[in-house]
C-alpha cells in the first residue's frame, strides 16, 4: 500500500457538515452504492491504522494564489416532512419565509467556494478515485447540487498528510500530530462507535502552487 493524493476540482460550493467529509467514509459510501448494500461494512482499498482507524485524511481545501477560499450563502427549500394538514389554517394564509407557525420555506446555509480539494490516503488511490466518482457531491445538500466535484489528478504522496484526520486519544502521541489537536468524539471506521479522539480543525487548507 502506498501513499497518494487525490486532487478534486470542485464545481459548486461546499456546505460543511458538523463532521467534515473523510476519504474513508466517502469511499465506503461509494462501495455501498456499487453493491447496493448499506447494511454491512465493506472492505476499503485503504490501509488500516492503530491510532486513526483508517489511513485517510479529512477534506483539505486547496486554494490558489489567485483563487483563495470564499464564502457564499446557499438558500435551499427546507424539509417539509413535518408539515401536517392540521397545520394549514382555514382560510389559507400566505406562507412566510421567515417562519411563523410553520417551518421556514428556505434554509440559508453558509458554504465555502474552493477551486480544488484534496484527500490524502494510503492504499489504492486509483480505486478510491473510481469509488468517489459514484458520489453526487461533498458535504450537506449534495443531493441538490452542492459540493459537486470530479477527481482530476492522482499522485503518489509520501508526506503522510493522510494523518490530517481524527486519532484515538488514548493511543496516539499528541505531540506527533501534524495539527493543533481538538478533543472530540468521533467514529473512526464506517459503522464504528464514537470514541475519544484528537482531531484537526474543521477547515484545513493548503495552497496549490
Amino acid at each position: 500500500m502506498s501513499g497518494f493524493r487525490l486532487l478534486l476540482a470542485v464545481h459548486t460550493p461546499i456546505v460543511l457538515p458538523r463532521v467534515p467529509p473523510r476519504l474513508d467514509m466517502l469511499v465506503h459510501e461509494g462501495l455501498c452504492r456499487l453493491h447496493g448494500d448499506w447494511s454491512r461494512t465493506h472492505d476499503l482499498p485503504l490501509a488500516e491504522d492503530v491510532t486513526a482507524g483508517i489511513r485517510a485524511s479529512q477534506l483539505v481545501f486547496v486554494q490558489t494564489v489567485s483563487t483563495p477560499l470564499a464564502t457564499t450563502t446557499l438558500a435551499m427549500p427546507d424539509a417539509t416532512g413535518n408539515l401536517d394538514r392540521a397545520n394549514v389554517s382555514n382560510p389559507p394564509r400566505p406562507f412566510k419565509e421567515t417562519g411563523g407557525p410553520r417551518p421556514k420555506r428556505l434554509t440559508e446555509r453558509a458554504a465555502i467556494q474552493t477551486p480544488y480539494a484534496a484527500f490524502y490516503g494510503e492504499g489504492d488511490g486509483q480505486r478510491c478515485a473510481e469509488l468517489l466518482s459514484l458520489l453526487d457531491g461533498l458535504g450537506r445538500e449534495h443531493m441538490r447540487g452542492s459540493g459537486s466535484f470530479e477527481v482530476i489528478d492522482i499522485q503518489a504522496d509520501d508526506t503522510d498528510r493522510w494523518r490530517f484526520c481524527a486519532h484515538r486519544r488514548d493511543v496516539v502521541d499528541v505531540t506527533s500530530l501534524p495539527f493543533d489537536p481538538i478533543a472530540d468524539e468521533r467514529a473512526l471506521t464506517p459503522h464504528g462507535q464514537p470514541e475519544p479522539v484528537w482531531r484537526p480543525e474543521q477547515i484545513i487548507t493548503e495552497t496549490l502552487r
Partner: protein, 277 residues
C-alpha cells in the same frame, strides 16, 4: 464527554422541577423538534405532547426540547401581561430574542441577557442565584473562562449565541464545543463556527503592531473581506500589506473560515469590549 443536549438537559433541571408533564411512551419515530431517535434522547421512552395552538396538530417532543418551550415564572420570570393584569405570560428559554447562554462543563446554565430582560427576570431563580448576567454571550463566555467557572471545554460546553424565537431551529442542530479553537455558536438559524483562539491571536498581533484601533473599523479589513467574498484585488492587498509592520503575522492569524473574515472588525470589537470589562 457529554453532548449539547445532555448538557442542556442537566442545566435546566430548575425549570423541570416545577412542572408536571404527562409523559407517554412515544409511538413516533423521533422527537418532532430535534429529530433525534427516541433511544438517543436523555429520558428515553418519555415523550411530552406539544401543541402550538388548539388548531395545530399535537407533536411529541423529548423532555429536553419540551423544557426549552416550557414557561417558568419561578426560574425565569414573567415575560409580559396579557389582557387583565392577573393574566401573565411566563418567560421561556425558547422565546428570548437577544439573549444567549453558556452551559459550563459542570452543566450550569448561565444566561446572557439584555438590560430589559434583567428588569423582567431579576426575581427569578436564575437571576437570584447569579446565573443571569447583563452582557453579551461572548463576554459571558470569556468572563466564565477568566473566573475558572467554565470548566474544561474538552468535557463539552454549550454556547448559545441567541435563543431567538424558533426553538425548533435552535434544537434541530445543537452543537457542543470541545475546544475554544472551534466555538460553535448555536442560534435559531443553526450553528456557526467561531475560531476564538485564532481571533485572540489576531487581536494580540494587531495590538503588538499598534494596529488594533484601526482594526476595529470595517475599512481596515476591506481587501480581506472582499477576497473572502470572492473578489480578490491584488493591488489593494499589496497596498494593505505595505501599511503594516508585519503583514504576514496578521495574515497567518486570520480565521480559516472565509465567513468569519466578513465580520472581523465586529468580532474584534466584541473581544476588545470583553477584555476591557
Amino acid at each position: 464527554m457529554k453532548n449539547a443536549y445532555q448538557r442542556l438537559f442537566e442545566a435546566t433541571e430548575t425549570i423541570r422541577s416545577e412542572v408536571q408533564w404527562s409523559l407517554e411512551t412515544p409511538t413516533t419515530g423521533a422527537c418532532a423538534c430535534c429529530g433525534r431517535a427516541w433511544d438517543a434522547v436523555e429520558q428515553a421512552d418519555q415523550a411530552a405532547a406539544y401543541q402550538y395552538s388548539p388548531n395545530m396538530a399535537v407533536e411529541w417532543y423529548c423532555t429536553t426540547c419540551k423544557t426549552v418551550r416550557e414557561p417558568s415564572q419561578r426560574a425565569l420570570g414573567i415575560e409580559r401581561r396579557a389582557g387583565r393584569s392577573d393574566n401573565t405570560v411566563d418567560a421561556r428559554l425558547g422565546m428570548l430574542p437577544g439573549a444567549g447562554a453558556v452551559i459550563t462543563a459542570h452543566s450550569v446554565l448561565h444566561l446572557a441577557v439584555k438590560p430589559g430582560h434583567w428588569d423582567k427576570f431579576k426575581g427569578g431563580t436564575y437571576a437570584q442565584t447569579g446565573q443571569m448576567h447583563v452582557c453579551s454571550p461572548i463576554q459571558l463566555l470569556l468572563t466564565l473562562e477568566r473566573d475558572a467557572r467554565l470548566g474544561d471545554p474538552a468535557k463539552g460546553i454549550v454556547y448559545i449565541e441567541e435563543f431567538g424565537r424558533k426553538a425548533d431551529g435552535l434544537m434541530a442542530d445543537l452543537r457542543v464545543t470541545t475546544s475554544l479553537a472551534e466555538l460553535w455558536a448555536n442560534t435559531e438559524n443553526g450553528p456557526s463556527l467561531i475560531e476564538l483562539t485564532r481571533l485572540r491571536t489576531l487581536y494580540d498581533r494587531l495590538a503588538a503592531q499598534d494596529s488594533l484601533d484601526a482594526a476595529l473599523k470595517p475599512a481596515f479589513w476591506q481587501p480581506i473581506r472582499r477576497a473572502a467574498q470572492g473578489h480578490l484585488d491584488r493591488d489593494a492587498l499589496r497596498a494593505w500589506a505595505d501599511q503594516r509592520n508585519d503583514p504576514q503575522a496578521i495574515l497567518d492569524a486570520l480565521p480559516r473560515d472565509p465567513k468569519m473574515r466578513l465580520s472581523l472588525h465586529s468580532r474584534l470589537a466584541t473581544l476588545h469590549a470583553a477584555r476591557a470589562a
